[in-house]
């Protein structure tokens, strides 16, 4: 536990440059500045490590970095996505608070690999404390001569800027995030072209999640194989899981991939007093919900969660006990996506509102039996037809809630009240 991003978590002033350096921080960066490592070696090491994008999509980081046209002329950028907005997720917040230098070093290494001399860290608008921590760390790094132009007399330059968002969930979508940095309204771009070719300000750009960047220095310091060995096949390394909901001790846990869910639940102190596990959303609000049985049989890695019928996502584990009304929970989730849809493309703009209104009518006691099929049909029509994944994110919970807890919905419609809450 706590071997990568959180390895200094228990030390005093763990966010400081001093503590980070004492534990081997910036050693890789110094080697790079002295010309001891090539970009190709770094990419190979990342591929060996099995590190997959920690923001939710799980795309192999080494492969992503190899896509950048690093030899092409002109400005290139690396961007860190710290716009952590998925309900249930709070891991990046704590990385920024407790290990900001790992993010800085990871981004600087990314800049070197991608031949990008400028980086942006886009931090969620509500994260004022993490923002200040990160800014403080950035100042330390600049003061220590770790960033800037021709760092330590080398030919390497890397400038890093922080960009604070303004509270839109959609800006966590990487291309909406780029629009937002550019000063435009945060709306996702259609792809292709992908950011690796046409990204920030139209230039080749690599975007990674905070946790992904923060994992890079550790991987390179101790070898990709060691990182891979921490986890299981196809899911290398450790992963931060934010466990929230009806548990006794909600918290972030950095645990090896492949850890059984029941162990994680134990780490979180087990169920809240008197509660019995009813359902788990394992990867953040947009991933399908699982029943207690499916969750208890699941291991926490990409494949394990997929086998259980959901997705690892950003590792945001929402635990629900038997006092939870699934109809009201879904209504709340539907409201979130309805509220956060950017409105740009048709299925999401019109569909999220439709889903929410039907569910709202249901919880108001005005549901009709046809509503269940209607909800399934509307979510199906959103799925796969939108510009970005927000549409899918809004659709997936609906399908899984109805599949796993249909009787609760039928009860609510028939009786006009919750089966659980009465």
């Amino acid at each position: 536990m706590n071997e990568v991003c959180f390895k200094n978590l228990n030390k005093e002033e763990c966010h400081s440059l001093k503590v980070y350096r004492e534990s081997g921080g910036y050693k890789v960066w110094h080697k790079i500045l002295q010309g001891e490592i090539t970009p190709e070696e770094i990419i190979d090491e990342l591929k060996t490590s099995g590190l997959r994008g920690r923001g939710g999509a799980g795309f192999p980081t080494g492969l992503k970095w190899s896509f950048m046209p690093r030899q092409s002329d002109g400005q290139k950028y690396v961007v860190c996505n710290s716009d952590e907005g998925e309900p249930g997720t709070c891991k990046d917040r704590d990385i920024l608070r407790y290990n900001p230098h790992a993010v800085i070093e990871g981004m600087a290494i990314g800049g070197f690999v991608m031949n990008a001399s400028v980086g942006y860290n886009y931090i969620r608008g509500e994260f004022m404390e993490p923002f200040k921590r990160f800014e403080g760390a950035l100042k330390e790094a600049y003061d220590a001569g770790l960033l800037g132009k021709n760092i330590n007399g080398s030919s390497i330059s890397f400038d890093l800027y922080t960009h604070l968002g303004a509270g839109a969930y959609i800006c966590g979508e990487e291309t909406a995030l780029l629009e937002s940095i550019e000063g435009k309204k945060g709306q996702p771009r259609f792809k292709p072209p992908f950011p690796a070719n046409v990204g920030l300000f139209g230039k080749p750009t690599t975007i990674n999640n905070t946790e992904s960047f923060a994992s890079v220095p550790e991987i390179l310091a101790n070898g990709g194989q060691r990182f891979a060995d921490l986890g299981v096949e196809n899911s290398g390394g450790c992963k931060l899981f934010s466990v929230s909901g009806h548990v006794a001790k909600p918290a972030n846990f950095e645990i090896p991939m492949g850890t059984p869910f029941k162990d994680l639940l134990e780490m979180a102190g087990g169920m809240r007093k008197g509660g019995k596990l009813k359902a788990v959303i394992p990867g953040g609000s947009s991933t399908p919900v699982l029943t207690a049985e499916a969750a208890m049989a699941m291991t926490m890695d990409y494949d394990g969660i997929e086998v259980a019928g959901s997705m690892l996502g950003a590792g945001s584990v929402i635990v629900m006990d038997d006092s939870t009304c699934m109809v009201e929970t879904l209504t709340r989730l539907a409201h979130f996506y309805y509220d956060e849809s950017c409105g740009q493309c048709t299925p999401c703009r019109e569909g999220t509102g439709w889903l929410y209104r039907v569910l709202k009518r249901m919880t108001d006691g005005d549901g009709v039996p046809e509503d269940i099929d209607l909800l399934l049909s509307v979510q199906d029509k959103i799925m796969g037809n939108t510009i970005c994944a927000l549409g899918d994110a809004a659709a997936m919970p609906v399908e899984s809630f109805l599949r796993n807890f249909r009787s609760e919905f039928e009860y609510y419609i028939e009786h006009g009240r919750s089966m659980i809450k009465g």
């Binding site: 956060e340 409105g343 740009q344 029509k381 037809n385």
Partner: protein, 748 residues
């Protein structure tokens, strides 16, 4: 780009690598529904209507944003595609009011059309629908934003074509509203195109509101004659009246856009002020008569005034809105009668000093220039479609420098705006000329010239640019050194291998030159004709107060003892005072004829409607008049015979040997540059009411700086030449720039 082969619905088609799938399907005639896609706008891919199935792609792909590549296999009709299209269609309609019976777009609505093919006949949506409160965005466009499907075509039009981000999306999700950012509404000179691009009834034509259904009208292709471009339009007519004008595609002329001026001028056609019946003046009183009586009266009148050997006592003047055929017939009549007193250049103070400068760059070439120098013009308002091409060039990287008497509101980036007094225009051009001369030529007038920095930098750009153009505008026509300015431009262009574009005269003036509607050997020009007080004048659609540089002199000339034949489409107080006979003629869209544009392209058009009441197309009137005058060579069956005769006649261009003078005449006093408001440039526009309610149409100002105002002893709040004074330091010294809706009278 290389040709590649892709497979669509099992058929192999050729495409170019990288082009978007939708352009391939459009070319192949394969039906792919769309709302946000527009061939002249950037791709948004947001309506999701054009989803197709690309083999290998996990999700359906939007045809508008999917580049094709070799071997790609696409299905546009399979079950997956149909399901996606039906889903998107259903979503588009959940919050659409479906108020087709009371919607002006009904019958020409893309949503309606596509819903018929791809939609379902019933909806499962039983929640409340979204309602959007409308803003008043001006007199031209009516909004019903509850109908909006958020395709953002109007937003992209503003950003990309109009050049002003007037419409935008505020709010997000279901609350996303397309609306103008500013309270003042939509002000672009091209705003009406938003009506054309809107696929639904959200943006409709305000003047046309609730008038007719599109299927009730006939559409006749025609040409808009308000500027030098001759935009292609459809005149939509119902029961003999033009009820609406919309753009017609022509990539070489107006692409798919037209200016608001071209779109809304038709409103003037049904103005109550039309001249509808022939009238003759008997003992100082007007009397309505039959055409034959009026024409016989005309012939008699001309004969009484002018005996056989006195043909040079007759003069003909025409406004620049006449057709090529009308110019041609009228000059032919005069020349057959033996007079060379023919002119269309009515608003030039000194015709000895009139500009001659050829244009030698095509409209389509303008968008690929890399440098442009604009002298004396506000092209956005004067020639909106030419300005549109310049804007395209700038967006593609071109630099534009401007030499004007005051700053104007350009809708693209200007490299440098040089604000200088009119008496210095020739000087700065001489400086540029001196800077571009590769060897020290023996040009006397350049000997004392030394180039200021800005002139040198302009010269450098002209020398280094591969495709440059020098544009001469309307503000120069009455500059006392106009001819020197034109000659210097010509010289600089030669030295720097630049093209020239002369936009100093507008409407159909190029047709007038083509028809040789200028004084011949021994003939009098317009000003000389007025000064000479001839015995008879034939006036073609002239409104003296607006059209003549000096209307006082014109009134004097048309006074007693002269016989004035006026052919007019609208009534005019001055014309009725000074004429002896008034012949009602057809206006725009009521006659066949031709417009000649800046490319020299002769664009002929048929009449869309017949002329109202007893008015007749002027070319027919002129032909009958010629017959009655017993002149030879007027046996035309239709107007096209006249067109070909006009186009094929031999014209000789005299070489211009007027000297160049570059001395800055600072002492010459104050220059007044008078420009008609863009919506008052011809008689039809002056009667088009909606245009006059726009911000552009309202402009009525005499701008000058403080020192000029002091010299003229006027101030803000007062009037100068009847126009409200605006004092601003941005105007160059010793210069008044008047942009006026009304004539300013006696501008001597």
């Amino acid at each position: 780009m290389a040709d590649i082969e892709i497979e669509i619905d099992g058929n192999v088609v050729t495409a170019q690598a990288g082009e978007m799938l939708i352009s391939v399907t459009d070319r192949e005639g394969i039906s792919v529904p769309r709302f946000c896609y527009h061939k002249k706008l950037s791709v948004a891919a947001s309506c999701r209507m054009c989803l197709v199935d690309v083999e290998g792609a996990p999700k359906p792909q939007t045809a508008c944003s999917t580049p094709v590549n070799e071997g790609m296999k696409v299905h546009t009709q399979n079950a997956k595609v149909k399901a996606s299209q039906k889903a998107v269609m259903e979503f588009l309609l959940v919050n659409h009011p479906l108020d087709c019976p009371i919607c002006d777009q009904g019958g020409e609505c893309e949503l309606q059309d596509v819903a018929m093919t791809y939609g379902s006949d019933m909806s499962y949506f039983s929640e409340g629908k979204r309602v959007v409160v409308d803003n008043d965005i001006g007199p031209l466009i009516h909004t019903d934003m509850t109908r909006c499907i958020h395709c953002t075509r109007c937003v992209r039009f503003g950003n990309e074509i109009g050049g002003i981000a007037e419409m935008g999306g505020t709010g997000r999700g279901e609350d996303l509203k397309i609306e103008p950012f500013l309270q003042e509404g939509i002000t672009s000179e091209l705003s009406g195109n938003m009506i054309d691009v809107c696929p639904v009834g959200a943006l409709t034509s305000k003047p046309f509101r609730y008038a007719l259904r599109t299927w009730q009208m006939n559409a006749t292709p025609s040409i808009a004659r308000h500027d030098l471009v001759g935009s292609n339009v459809f005149a939509q007519t119902y029961k003999g009246k033009v009820r609406r004008v919309v753009a017609k595609d022509n990539d070489n002329v107006n692409e798919t856009w037209i200016s608001d001026r071209d779109r809304f001028s038709y409103e003037g056609l049904s103005h109550e002020n039309r001249l509808l019946k022939p009238q003759i003046k008997l003992n100082g009183k007007w009397k309505e008569v039959q055409w034959n009586e009026a024409l016989e009266f005309t012939v008699r009148g001309l004969a009484n005034q002018v005996s056989d050997n006195q043909a040079n006592e007759i003069g003909a003047l025409a406004s620049n809105t006449a057709t090529l055929e009308e110019f041609y017939l009228l000059q032919k009549i005069l020349r057959e009668m033996g007079s060379e007193n023919i002119d269309h250049r009515l608003d030039i103070k000194d015709l000895e000093n009139s500009i001659t400068l050829d244009s030698n760059i095509k409209l389509t070439e303008l968008e690929s220039i890399d440098y442009g120098l604009i002298i004396g013009s506000n092209p956005r308002l004067e020639q909106p479609m030419i300005n549109h091409r310049l804007r395209k060039a700038v967006l593609a990287g071109a630099d534009i420098d401007v030499v004007n008497v005051m700053p104007f509101d350009f809708n693209y980036r200007i490299n440098s705006e040089n604000i200088i007094s009119p008496y210095q225009t020739a000087t700065i051009l001489a400086e540029i000329s001196k800077s571009v001369l590769k060897s020290v030529h023996a040009k006397n007038y350049l000997s004392n010239v030394s180039a200021r920095d800005s002139a040198q930098s302009i010269a450098n750009r002209l020398l280094t640019a591969d495709n440059s153009v020098i544009i001469l505008g309307e503000h120069i026509i009455n500059n006392p050194q106009a001819i020197s300015i034109a000659k210097l431009i010509s010289e600089i262009a030669q030295q720097t291998n630049s093209a020239t574009l002369n936009i100093s005269a507008t409407s159909n003036s190029i047709a007038a030159e083509m028809a040789n509607f200028v004084p011949g050997q021994g003939g009098l020009d317009a000003n000389a004709m007025l000064a000479a007080k001839l015995k008879a004048y034939i006036l073609l659609d002239i409104y003296p107060e607006y059209d003549f540089h000096n209307s006082v002199k014109a009134l004097e000339a048309f006074g007693n003892n002269t016989f004035v034949v006026s052919m007019n489409s609208f009534k005019d107080k001055v014309i009725s005072q000074c004429s002896d006979v008034m012949l009602p003629i057809a206006s725009f869209y009521e006659t066949s004829g031709s417009h000649v544009n800046i490319d020299g392209k002769v664009q002929s058009f048929a009449a869309a409607v017949s002329a109202p009441s007893e008015s007749k197309p002027a070319w027919k009137v002129l032909k009958v008049l010629a017959d009655l005058l017993k002149l030879q060579g007027f046996h035309y069956e239709d107007s096209t015979q006249i067109t070909s005769e006009a186009v094929n006649q031999n014209r000789q261009k005299a070489t211009d040997e007027r000297p160049v003078s570059v001395i800055a005449e600072a002492k010459r006093g104050i220059d007044v540059i008078y420009q008609k408001s863009p919506y008052a440039t011809d008689v039809l526009l002056r009667h088009a009411s909606a245009l006059h309610a726009t911000k552009i149409g309202q402009v009525h100002l005499a701008s000058m700086n403080k020192s000029t105002a002091e010299k003229l002893q006027v101030e803000r709040g007062k009037k100068y030449l009847g126009v409200p004074v605006m004092v601003t330091e941005s105007v160059a010294n010793d210069c008044v720039f008047i942009n006026a809706r009304h004539p300013i009278g006696g501008k001597s």
